[in-house]
């Protein structure tokens, strides 16, 4: 669609919600077409509703004028396509201005928020009000939306790491402009609307996650009670082969209830990207650094004291419970082959470590010990729900431009991020199979192997296989795209399906389960016959989707 075809729509909508809330100029279109992915799309423009009523007006006007909408919360969907719609010429509905924290209930431990509320904003609010509550946060940084991550069914670092499971009462603008609230939210004066997810009758939350069936304008997220006592544990392995046995030990500890948090295990490449950037002065990036220059790679890893695998986790409870569980976990993990160290850090030990760090900093600004102490602090921040800019550092790994600060948007440095995130059963054989497949593909296309394996639940792991590339280079973009496609095909052929992804990831997924997606497509056709909301987002278009 051309700009001029937009005019009647923009004029009409401008009269309804205010002209200042719609922009279709080239600058805004260019800005919203930036992406860390190998391929993006250019939108028609951007609408910035200030309220649910604005969203309804946008949906209704879009239906009348056959304009497709692409809603975003904050657009920080790093690695999975950022803020880009699957198709060009959508009108982005940027919900960042709807950022009210509507209620925080300390007794029942929940917050009711709008989509624009960021991780940083809610955590600051909790701290300002001195509420003993913890938000489970992700590594996407303080500016990322909480609601946006829930709707992608993302995961964090604490016992509340399953973000879909710990949310409820979605307020949704449907494609026809009507509104429903899920769970008990639609009932007058519903007392349990913020504490019980399912309601009565079919439970609908799931339908509106990873989908294009409505625009969520409000939801309730459950918060963790700040524990009486807290400890973190840090595990490091010196062998590649330790991943499988380690994750099996974690499975047993999770099944037994000793570990209750989502647990992340980072490989060496992923840890290195978090610590520094690709050494462009020593390598040209056409081959993986560890393949072309193993000596350089080894030296860098040694400089930062990186193990083959590193993981952190947390323990909560009374002082006696934390002590008992710490012992149980240590005993279980001690026998994993290749263990380099396991440290269980209670509150006192952590305080001591940070005092030590303060003493050391002036005299030993880059010592290994200091680096370790800093990474302990970062790990502990995540485990206690404090989002950090530090976790985004890894995204700049192959960018040619150094980020100006830790808060620099990955798009500004030309960072390329293409992630594939398959779900695995929590077994050693699945871990090795996926890890080896991924490493081979990364190396074939000349990228460092970067991966996180997360024990998402008692039974399932998420592998985040992160292709970091230089998005300013056409050659690297091509290789990243091909690497992603080939790895995805290999995973699907072996029965490993991603849990999340942009349209480039969805296309091959639609193909391997065509009947299933025809069924889901028919729900879309029924609920959004005009195709107003995010055509091609997760659900294939009825006419062409499955065949594409």
């Amino acid at each position: 669609m051309e700009d001029r075809a937009m005019t009647p729509f923009v004029e009409e909508l401008g009269r309804e919600i205010g002209a200042e809330k719609i922009r279709t100029d080239d600058a805004v279109r260019a800005s919203f077409s930036r992406t860390t992915a190998p391929d993006g799309t250019r939108p028609l423009g951007v609408a910035t509703p200030a309220s649910r009523e604005d969203v309804r007006a946008i949906v209704r006007a879009a239906a009348r004028h056959r304009v497709a909408l692409f809603p975003i919360s904050r657009g920080k969907n790093w690695g999975y396509g950022d803020a880009c719609a699957p198709q060009p010429d959508n009108l982005i509905v940027d919900l960042s201005g709807m950022n009210r924290i509507i209620e925080v209930n300390a007794e029942l431990a929940y917050a009711v928020i709008e989509p624009g509320v960021t991780q940083g904003e809610l955590v600051s609010h909790l701290e300002r009000e001195r509420l003993p509550l913890i938000l489970d946060t992700t590594g996407a940084g303080p500016d990322a939306s909480i609601v946006g991550n829930v709707l992608e069914r993302g995961s964090g670092h604490t016992p509340y790491g399953d973000h879909f499971a710990t949310s409820c009462n979605y307020e949704i603008v449907l494609p026809d402009g009507s509104i429903i609230q899920t769970g008990f939210g639609s009932y007058p004066n519903a007392r349990a609307q913020n504490v019980y997810k399912y309601g009565i009758g079919p439970t609908l939350d799931g339908l509106f996650t990873q989908s294009n069936l409505g625009i969520v304008t409000r939801m309730t997220v459950w918060l963790m009670a700040a524990p009486e006592n807290f400890a973190m544990f840090i595990v490091a392995f010196r062998e590649k082969a330790s991943l499988g046995p380690f994750m099996e030990a974690v499975r047993r500890l999770r099944l037994a209830g000793s570990i209750r948090s989502t647990m992340h295990c980072f490989n060496r490449g992923r840890l290195l990207a978090g610590a520094t950037r690709f050494p462009w002065d020593k390598a040209d990036g056409r081959q993986a650094l560890e393949v072309a220059h193993p000596d350089v790679y080894q030296a860098m890893c040694e400089q930062f004291g990186l193990p083959e695998w590193g993981a952190t986790g947390s323990i909560h409870g009374s002082a006696a419970e934390v002590r008992a569980t710490g012992k149980t976990i240590r005993a279980a993990l001690k026998s994993v082959p290749g263990l380099e160290r396991i440290v269980v850090l209670g509150e006192r030990a952590f305080a001591t470590s940070q005092t030590l760090a303060r003493w050391l900093r002036p005299v030993a600004g880059s010592s290994l010990l200091l680096k370790r102490l800093d990474s302990i602090r970062l790990g502990r921040d995540m485990l206690q729900g404090r989002p950090s800019w530090e976790t985004l550092k890894g995204s700049h790994w192959r960018a040619r431009t150094a980020p100006a600060s830790s808060q620099t948007d990955p798009n500004e440095t030309g960072s390329g991020l293409a992630w594939i995130a398959p779900i695995l059963p929590l077994t050693a054989s699945a871990m090795s199979e996926v890890s080896e497949l991924a490493e081979t593909a990364f190396h074939r296309y000349g990228f460092e192997y970067q991966a996180t394996f997360t024990a998402f639940s008692e039974r399932a792991a998420i592998a985040v296989l992160s292709i970091s590339f230089d998005n300013a280079s056409g050659d690297e973009r091509d290789r990243a795209r091909n690497c992603q496609g080939e790895l995805l095909d290999g995973l699907l052929a072996r029965g490993y399906v991603p849990y999340r992804g942009p349209v480039s990831v969805m296309r091959p997924i639609w193909k391997v389960a065509p009947e299933y997606w025809r069924g889901v497509g028919s729900i879309k056709a029924c609920m959004d016959p005009g195709g107003v909301i995010a055509p091609g987002r997760y659900i294939p278009e009825a006419t062409a989707g499955v065949q594409t």
Copy 2:
């Protein structure tokens, strides 16, 4: 529809799946119209498919002949309408013959089962194979279906007490006869299909629970790993007012992670019904026993040593963890006003108690101590996933006929059961408000106040308000129906909505949220335009539902 109108349908279907799988005689119709509810419906007949393909054939033939189907797993939906369809003249699709245990995976702790598999069957299988796995069971008895309870989103007694949350990979025959599997089940060779619930794209499990959008023919249920060490705790209160403060203490313990299981708190009336039957020789039942004959009631409660409220819970983990958590729980509950006793029973203490019971039985067959020891065993069985006939005993409370054995079907004694199960926020004020409202309504209609308050999660409680009546008496049936209706209206007016219920419960619920149910009705109209599956079940019919 008349029997003769059925003939072409029955003949055609008989040719497809075998005539022996369909019965429409009066005996079977009468048998399946029996219910413990005040009102039931008479079906057209019963089909007993032996396979998914049979189910598909039934759905397709029903669509051609415009016959409505009502699928049941085992039909033991006690208190919520049993096996009865919302409307008369449905063909019951009795899935009890599809009772294969398809897979049990000890490593990843799950079972893949068909709808006919009962709690008793799966638990026997686990014991026979000596698998260290625990099924979370309900009080509906060994013959109740596991899948049926999941689809009603029922709850049990362990950390796996949320049955919907701990199930995945539903195989569903849709109203058009096609099949989908939820989560990753539809993908070829999907490795994580039994361990990860959500899949990619919209997650659909919720749509097929408490609904009439498909017939579930298989699912995966997650099992608990048998703990290294186990303790149960038993709490008794001597004051009515203890409920609120107790449940608030439980909330804090659940938020802290010290209590991880669904926890049930029984009132005196509920405990009494579990222990004995209504004393028809001493009262006429036109008024609540505790109102008309407080002395008789008091004497009976003393005979069985019943507190005002009693609750049990469990602790799992390593020996050190169980000890530490036991201390934390004891310390937290000790300060609840009105506490009569709290006992934490480790494995050794439990064994001793049961040895004591064996010694006592010959000499003191009905002593109070022995009764307490027996109820400890029963409580422990439920906490460890062993279903029992004993938990069904309470259903015969007002039946005029004594049950022949503990395994007697409540319908055989004329037991009447009408339950209302609102969800409450886990606060003291909500507990008192609902409990007082219920007690007043029960007494106004002449029934003993029987209630269970369950801490379902960290934030929400389910109250099961159980009207026990004599279903052989027209007068009691009328009173039960009116009591249920009035209490339901009172609860809805105060914003307490049930989590589950038969059509008699749904009608007033549809009325208070008409827009919401119009939305849900439109999904039904789209997915099942012919209204083949269970018309009026949870979802109102598009034409009349919301108005009824």
